[in-house]
């Protein structure tokens, strides 16, 4: 519990910086076919917080595409986490799951939310927990509640408390922004008159590496979120691009042209030490990504004549070709569990996101748009965030890994591109 309080206070400091002017909005364009009905009864005394905590929880769960909120009439007296549950009554309200809770105001002004989750079908409690939070962190607390509910019901971790990064372009101005996974509380990390591309979160979520063109050429930076400092980590002669974090958080793979061409190198993420070249070809080798176990680096190479995905041992060595169908397969992103590879494939002039099952080699194209880029897995692997172009404007969208649930994230006032989904926040 103290850890969580620390986390929430830490988040408050983080959010005290630069609120961005516009925000992402998330619209579920294609909800899941089987959405489980869940009753989230407004928590007793939640009005004391000033923001409806349970409304945020419900919106989170509905956006996942797996749940549908059941309308609950006002109940008197309002039930709390200590109210005995009449399973038959909730069954008759057509709820498969139920959340009951309350908010307590502490003497120091902080709040505590306590709640229980029930499986109405199996007539069994699924667990209970309490979180302490300050008023300005009600959204973060609600996302924690949603994560707990989601995990107890589905058995997998929720991503409602995570953050996303993306680049907004307005005319000649570029902003690297981060926002909550629901698009709220957007803020910018960097504002520049030159392009910014390829943001990637460090494994612990406190740093973002990216490529900035502010020096009239691509240079790789690591940006420290908490103190808003940044460090040049690759500014060698030529181009420096395509950063990727190793799971240890200490090593970055980057693509450098310092030896000629575009080749993959490893660097220490703190800028110390020397570069280590790990690819060795006369062709283009770029877009490295580590598998989550750190053993492999997936990358794009045109060594076979067309750009295809390959992988090699993270220490270097002979690459193996991974994609075979089609003449343009780029931007490989291994899933968090290592079983699936997302990448962008060109189909009859359209760029779409495909998933390759690494065990049975099955390929499934999961989007139907024309210009998809930069797929990014949610840390639980269920959703994939990507950039696309709709009506001539860059927007973000998200699609479930089974292709069934689709969301759009419109953004007022600018082109949005280069999304990157952040890690779980512990």
């Amino acid at each position: 519990m103290p850890n969580l309080v620390r986390t929430l206070i830490g988040l408050a400091l983080l959010f005290a910086v630069a609120q961005a002017r516009a925000q992402l909005e998330i619209i579920v364009t294609d909800p899941g076919a089987q959405r489980s009905p869940i009753a989230i009864v407004p928590f007793a005394n939640e009005a004391a917080v000033g923001t409806s905590l349970t409304a945020i929880v419900r919106a989170d769960l509905e956006r996942s595409g797996l749940f549908r909120g059941v309308e609950v009439p006002p109940l008197s007296p309002p039930p709390t986490e200590n109210t005995p549950v009449n399973y038959g009554e909730w069954r008759s309200r057509l709820a498969d799951a139920l959340v009951l809770g309350s908010v307590v105001t502490h003497r120091d002004g902080r709040f505590e939310v306590r709640f229980r989750v029930y499986d109405i079908v199996k007539q069994a409690p699924l667990g209970a927990i309490a979180y302490v939070f300050t008023k300005e962190n009600v959204r973060a607390a609600a996302h924690r509640v949603a994560d707990f509910v989601y995990e107890r019901i589905t058995g997998e971790k929720g991503v409602f408390s995570t953050q996303i990064a993306y680049v907004v372009r307005r005319g000649a101005a570029y902003e690297l922004q981060i926002a909550d996974a629901d698009g709220e509380r957007a803020q910018y990390l960097l504002r520049s008159n030159e392009p910014i591309i390829s943001p990637v979160w460090s494994p612990e979520g406190r740093r973002i590496a990216y490529v900035s063109f502010e020096s009239k050429k691509p240079v790789v930076y690591v940006h420290y979120l908490e103190d808003r400092k940044r460090q040049v980590v690759a500014s060698f002669r030529g181009s420096n691009s395509a950063p990727a974090w190793a799971p240890d958080g200490k090593t970055l793979a980057v693509v450098l042209s310092v030896d000629g061409g575009s080749q993959i190198f490893l660097l220490n993420a703190d800028g110390s030490g020397a570069r280590r070249r790990i690819s060795n070809s006369a062709s283009i080798d770029t877009e490295p990504r580590f598998s989550s176990d750190g053993k492999w680096i997936y990358f794009t190479s045109d060594r076979g004549g067309t750009p295809q995905v390959y992988r090699m041992s993270a220490t270097g060595g002979e690459p193996q070709r991974v994609t075979f169908e089609g003449s343009y397969n780029v931007s490989p992103r291994p899933s968090p569990d290592g079983r699936v590879l997302a990448y962008v494939t060109r189909n009859a002039g359209k760029f779409q996101v495909a998933l390759l099952d690494l065990s049975n080699r099955q390929v499934q194209v999961i989007t139907d748009s024309d210009r998809d880029e930069s797929p990014s897995f949610a840390p639980n692997g269920r959703m994939i965030l990507l950039a696309t172009v709709i009506g001539g404007r860059g927007v973000l969208s998200a699609v479930s890994a089974d292709g069934r649930i689709k969301q759009r994230l419109p953004f007022a006032g600018g082109d949005v591109r280069e999304p990157a989904w952040g890690p779980f926040i512990e």
């Binding site: 101005a173 520049s192 691009s241 042209s257 020397a274 770029t286 794009t300 210009r371």
Partner: protein
């Protein structure tokens, strides 16, 4: 301390700064790979400024370095900008998925090679560019292949390797904003810049 100096002096002063910092801090100063600009940590100003005002904080101000070891003469510098001189032509355009310099640009490249031969202290940056289709990072690599191709030709024509830095802007800096072949053909290009222009 060192970091602040670097942020204040900007890229034009990096080498000088590194030397200065080494002198000031002595052995305590961490080492940086020799061909990499020193890793600077920059502080950024907070929000609240006018749009664009913050940007200057991330773009270190340029400092005019004085180099008295032999600069191109004023007349040769003027030639680079003279619209009647072929040296003022700085862009080479490419066919789709092509990286070779077409015959129509041969005289342009030869003129720049001659300039580099005659002005050994002159420095050049070649920026490769692509059209907007496909992966941004893969396009960075494709643009690099274009600028590298121009450099190779300049060296065959007598320019020195250390005079030319080749980089790529990928699809990020289009010359034309459209989304058709008319625009794309203007965006598949290499741009030549001389020292002082970048």
């Amino acid at each position: 301390m060192r970091a602040i100096l670097i942020a204040a002096l900007g890229s034009a002063g990096l080498k000088f700064t590194a030397i200065l910092a080494a002198l000031l801090l002595g052995a305590a100063c961490s080492t940086t790979p020799e061909d990499q600009a020193a890793a600077g940590v920059e502080s950024r100003t907070g929000p609240g400024g006018k749009p664009g005002a913050d940007t200057r904080a991330v773009q270190p101000p340029k400092v005019a370095a004085v180099d008295i070891t032999g600069k191109p003469s004023a007349s040769s510098l003027a030639a680079l900008k003279d619209p009647n001189n072929i040296l003022s032509k700085r862009s080479i355009y490419y066919d789709l998925d092509k990286f070779d310099v077409k015959d129509e640009y041969r005289s342009l490249v030869e003129a720049h090679a001659k300039y580099l031969r005659e002005n050994p202290t002159a420095r050049m940056m070649i920026q490769g560019n692509t059209d907007e289709r496909g992966s941004r990072e893969y396009n960075v690599s494709l643009g690099q292949r274009r600028s590298d191709g121009v450099k190779k030709m300049l060296i065959l024509l007598g320019a020195r390797e250390n005079q030319i830095e080749t980089v790529s802007l990928g699809e990020e800096k289009p010359q034309a904003d459209g989304h058709d072949e008319g625009a794309w053909s203007k965006n598949r290009r290499s741009d030549i810049l001389y020292g002082g222009e970048y």
